[in-house]
Structures are given as structure tokens and as C-alpha cells.
Amino acid sequence: MGYGQSSTHLDATFAALADPTRRAILARLASGEASVTELAEPFEISQPAISKHLKVLERAGLISRGHDAQRRPRRLEAKPLAEATVWLERYRRIWEANYRRLDALLDELRIQERKRGHSKPAVDLAAPGSTHSRARGSRAKTAKSPAPIKPTGEHR
């Protein structure tokens, strides 16, 4: 499947994306191709420095050169960026689901704590078989039952 090549690409992609100037350059190129001079304009760094960043981006396959021999404009290459984005997106979706459940749990723990006063450890309050389902009803804010989990976004 050509994984070796793909792996090298991803490695270079992430290294390239780690730098804020390079991310800014990509954001600029997302709105259209631009020459090195044009790309250097918004930054307070020299043109050679910009050229160095462009070389990194080019090696990562994130940008390529246009056909105009005079301006040699750079333009965005969408594919490697998309590959890195897939992984981050999948990871993010899993954690977003986790954090939504955590929001509901923390709401519940705070309500329980307020009822009993501050000193009790939170764990007692969430023990299996406790009456948390009734307590939660008093402030049904994100009102999502902790178990069973309702499918909210089927496609992952």
C-alpha cells in the first residue's frame, strides 16, 4: 500500500505544521497562490527566512510551484494536509464525546456536593445505585443520561 512513503510524508507534514509561521503561510495560500514576495509581506522576517519555510512546506508536499516562470507562485496542495487532518479529526471526535459526558457528570457531582456540603468526597456521591438520576432532574441542563449512552453522531 506504499505505507513507507506515506509515513515519511506524514512525518514531514506534522513537522511542517508545527511552526506558526508556516501555518500562517498555508492559511494565506488557502485563499490563492502567491509569490515569495507576496508571502513575505505580512511577516516581520526576511525573504530568505520565508524561503526557508517554503522549502520545508514544499518538502512536505504541502505546497507546490505554479507555472508562471517569472513570479514562481506557490500554491497549496490539499492532499497531505487532509491526511494529517483525518487523524486529528477522528481523535478529536472521540474526545469531544468524552468531554460531553464529563460535563454532565461534573454537573451532577456539583449538585450532589452542594446538597451534602463540601467536605464529602465526590466518589461517594456517584456510587452505583445512588439516586443521582433523580438529583440530575433538578437541573436538566445538558440532560444526557450517562448510561446507556445515546448515539448522537453515528458516522465516525
Partner: protein
């Protein structure tokens, strides 16, 4: 209104996640470290439960998580060792999945900062090598590359100057 998750890359081996939670830090720390609480939220995608959640919260102590997909009983296990434990503000732990879909470990640093009754959680996941991170990314890429292209295209299309096509800015 709940906060949204922010996720960025840090360096070339790190993923950094930040999320604000509407609760004091000690409650959040409990929710991250007490099994009976962790089991109620750290479930991953919808449709999974967490039958095993053991946490020995001390330096050198181990933790072990097993998730099960309720639909077909598929299980996925993961565990590691705590390297640092500072109640209620910080943990550092190794992380390794049972399935050999990547070799080596990741090191996960979780930092909780309380501000005006709210807690900001910052989790940094550092892979032990570039090879590991690449392998992790490959595993994630098997699904939905095409969908991501679509999303990227939508994003590019929504930008004001649609000049990505060749020659459109000449």
C-alpha cells in the same frame, strides 16, 4: 454553554488538547482518577462501555482500561504506569494499547488549572518516536480519507477568495 475542545500539534511528536470544564479542580481531578467516575465518561465513541477500569494512583502505580463495544462484544484494552502524580493538579503517565497497532508508548501529561471555579484541562500526548506517531496516524487514516478531502474542500471553498484553481489570480 459548554466549551469546545481545542486540539493542536506541538513539536513534531505531540498532540495537545485543551478543554475548559465548569467545575472546581478537585472534582475534575476525581473524575479523571477515580475508577467509578472515569467509567462513566471515558468511553470513546458512542456505543462503547468500560467494563474494566483500575487505577493505582501513585508514582510507579499502574492503570488498566478495557472498553467493550456493546453491539458485538469487541474489546480494546490499554494501560500504563504513572510517572508523576500531584493531586489535584497534574499527572504524567505512559499509555500503551494492547493491540499491536503501534509499537512503543505515548507519554500523556494532564494538567488542571482552576480559574474562577472553572478548570482548564490540558493534555499533551507525546509519542516516543516519530515512527510511533506515524503508525498511529496511519491507523487513523484507514477510515474516511475521502470524507476529509470533502471537508477540506468545503473549508477552502468557504474562504472569501476562491483562488486555488490555477491561474485564477493572474
Amino acid at each position: 454553554m459548554k466549551d469546545t475542545l481545542k486540539m493542536t500539534t506541538g513539536g513534531d511528536r505531540e498532540i495537545v488538547m485543551t478543554r475548559s470544564l465548569d467545575a472546581p479542580r478537585r472534582l475534575v481531578f476525581d473524575a479523571f482518577t477515580k475508577p467509578e467516575l472515569v467509567k462513566r465518561w471515558l468511553l470513546g465513541p458512542d456505543g462503547w462501555s468500560m467494563p474494566v477500569c483500575e487505577i493505582d494512583l501513585r508514582v510507579g502505580g499502574r492503570y488498566r482500561y478495557v472498553w467493550r463495544r456493546d453491539r458485538d462484544g469487541t474489546e480494546m484494552g490499554m494501560g500504563g504506569v504513572f510517572r508523576e502524580v500531584v493531586v489535584p493538579e497534574r499527572t504524567v503517565a505512559t499509555e500503551k494499547f494492547d493491540e499491536a497497532w503501534y509499537s512503543g508508548e505515548a507519554l500523556v501529561t494532564t494538567i488542571l488549572v482552576e480559574r474562577e471555579g472553572k478548570t482548564v484541562v490540558t493534555q499533551t500526548m507525546m509519542f516516543d518516536s516519530r515512527e510511533t506517531r506515524d503508525a498511529v496516524m496511519k491507523s487513523g487514516m484507514e477510515s474516511g480519507v475521502a470524507r476529509s478531502y470533502d471537508r477540506l474542500e468545503e473549508m477552502l471553498a468557504s474562504l472569501p477568495a476562491q483562488g486555488v484553481e490555477k491561474g485564477s489570480r493572474k
